[in-house]
Amino acid sequence: MSDDTTPPLPNPDVLTQPFWEACRERRLQVSACEECNHLFLPPGPCCPRCWSTRQTPRVVSGEGRVYSFALYRRTYHPAIPEPYVVALIELDEGPRLISNVVGCAPEEVRVDMRVRVRFEDVDGFTLPRFEPLTMTGGAS
């Protein structure tokens, strides 16, 4: 199934399928707990804060900041050649997710840089990657 030309792809299950379906429609969504209002990622069977199983999807702005990042100078998978940036993105609404920073040179990525989601289609999936919110560094 995974050969050298196919990048690793999401493996949706019953819990994560709605997240990937929303991405395909260009919406980034997180899980919102109906008991304690905690917003969380990744999707799961219960709220990791209060264990309530009552939750609803909530679409978020797709804006956030780079909490930290790793600049890959080694190619681990032939379909994902170096250099590339893996970042831990902290969304403005709170939840964090691992993604890539694209749309700028890898050397330009900084911690705390403001970013916005950019949906990219890869082999039938739509991945939420992130790009700098402004290239000039102005606040927005």
């Binding site: 990791p48 997710l97 911690v111």
Partner: protein
């Protein structure tokens, strides 16, 4: 009647990249050397705990590691098991042996770490679920996030990570069995190939084939054995399982929780530690632990390691045998072995004078698991 557990024997194979020996042979050699070191008969071993390295894994098909290992050593123990705590596993199995012995479940427990590149299984990949989609592979990428965060928060410099790598090699130069004994200087560190920035090749632990073993028994049984018993002064674990969802996951290790508990059981603080055996899969993990165990204030580990403070002859020697960065990848069990040798005064050229308290740590997976042992004479 309360029973106290002590460490009475240690042993290991050579560590290196050579692949001509099977992991089974390595395990057997380590087991024999620990039993011989203690001076007990193999027939006395009634407990078997194992930390199989990531390459061989805890399961071979449906066969757990302890089952294969126990059959190979002809054991029908009263207590057995294998840990799956990544790099915290070796320290955790020694702790588990202590708990089992003190609870009366067994009397003489063999703890073994072993791994070999000849036993690599396809599962040996760090792509975790959907994060692999973004190319988030390898333990190095995870630790690069922590290193970058530390640099951002505290101004930590590459040269300060370099101090950790340089100290490890300087220690290993005094360790006859170490895998990388050639000392390095800062220029060589700085020109080392980037792997996942900000981490370079010399920030990363070695890949090794080898096995190490520790024998734990009762204080009473150890009394007439030939080696001085090493005391268990404290032990604790703490874990951070939520990874990126945990607020401080890439800034602080669970060591900040279990370190004070383990030292507190001994009535000790970080200043009482003569030698620190800190799990060092990457240089940044040493910096984080220096802060989390309270050897320095949070954010100050970079300046703390400058001037050779953790190097041979420094104020706080860290990993005097060279650790995972230079001695060999011993899964954390070699750290326990070295602590025992230092406390028994058997470390030769690298002996820390009058070492009487050793702190040993294990750190594993995606910075998720942590275990601490405080050992004494």
């Amino acid at each position: 009647m309360s029973r106290r557990a002590v460490i009475t024997g240690v042993g290991h194979t050579a560590f290196g990249r050579s692949t001509d020996r099977s992991v089974s042979e390595l395990e057997t050699e380590a087991a024999l050397s620990a039993v011989e070191d203690a001076g007990v008969s193999p027939s006395e071993v009634d407990g078997l705990l194992s930390d199989p390295g990531a390459m061989q894994g805890v399961l071979d098909g449906i066969t757990p590691h302890y089952l294969r290992l126990g059959a190979q050593l002809g054991l029908d123990p009263d207590y057995t098991g294998s840990e799956i705590l990544g790099g915290a596993g070796s320290v955790a199995v020694v702790e588990r042996a202590v708990l089992a012995i003190e609870a009366g479940l067994c009397t003489t427990c063999l703890c073994i770490y072993a791994d070999s590149t000849t036993s690599v299984k396809s599962a040996y990949r760090y792509g975790r679920g959907d994060d692999a989609v973004y190319g988030f592979f390898g333990a190095v990428g995870l630790h690069a996030l922590a290193a970058r965060r530390h640099m951002h928060l505290y101004g930590t410099k590459p040269e300060q990570l370099g101090e950790v790598a340089i100290a490890a090699r300087a220690h290993a130069a005094r360790t006859p069995h170490a895998q990388k004994r050639r000392p390095i200087e800062m220029q060589e560190y700085l020109s080392s190939d980037p792997i996942v920035e900000p981490l370079r090749k010399l920030d990363c632990c070695l890949v090794s084939n080898g096995a190490a073993a520790v024998l734990v028994t009762t204080e009473e049984r150890a009394r007439d054995l030939r080696r001085p018993a090493v005391q268990i002064l404290g032990h604790a674990q703490a874990h951070s399982l939520c990874t990126q969802a945990a607020p401080e996951h890439f800034e602080r290790l669970p060591a900040a929780r279990c370190g004070p508990r383990a030292l507190g059981q001994a009535g000790l603080g970080p200043r009482d530690v003569d030698v620190a055996l800190l799990y060092d899969c990457f240089t940044i993990v040493v910096l984080l632990q220096l802060e989390d165990y309270g050897f320095c204030k949070r954010g100050e580990a970079g300046p703390f390691v400058e001037g050779g403070r953790i190097a041979p002859g420094g104020e706080l020697p860290v990993n005097p045998s060279g650790g995972l960065l230079a001695e060999g990848y011993g899964g954390g069990m070699l750290h326990v072995v070295e602590a025992v040798r230092q406390l028994r005064g058997e470390a030769g050229e690298r002996q820390i004078p009058e070492a009487s308290v050793a702190l040993v740590s294990g750190h594993g997976l995606g910075m998720n698991t942590h275990a601490t042992l405080v050992l004494g004479r």
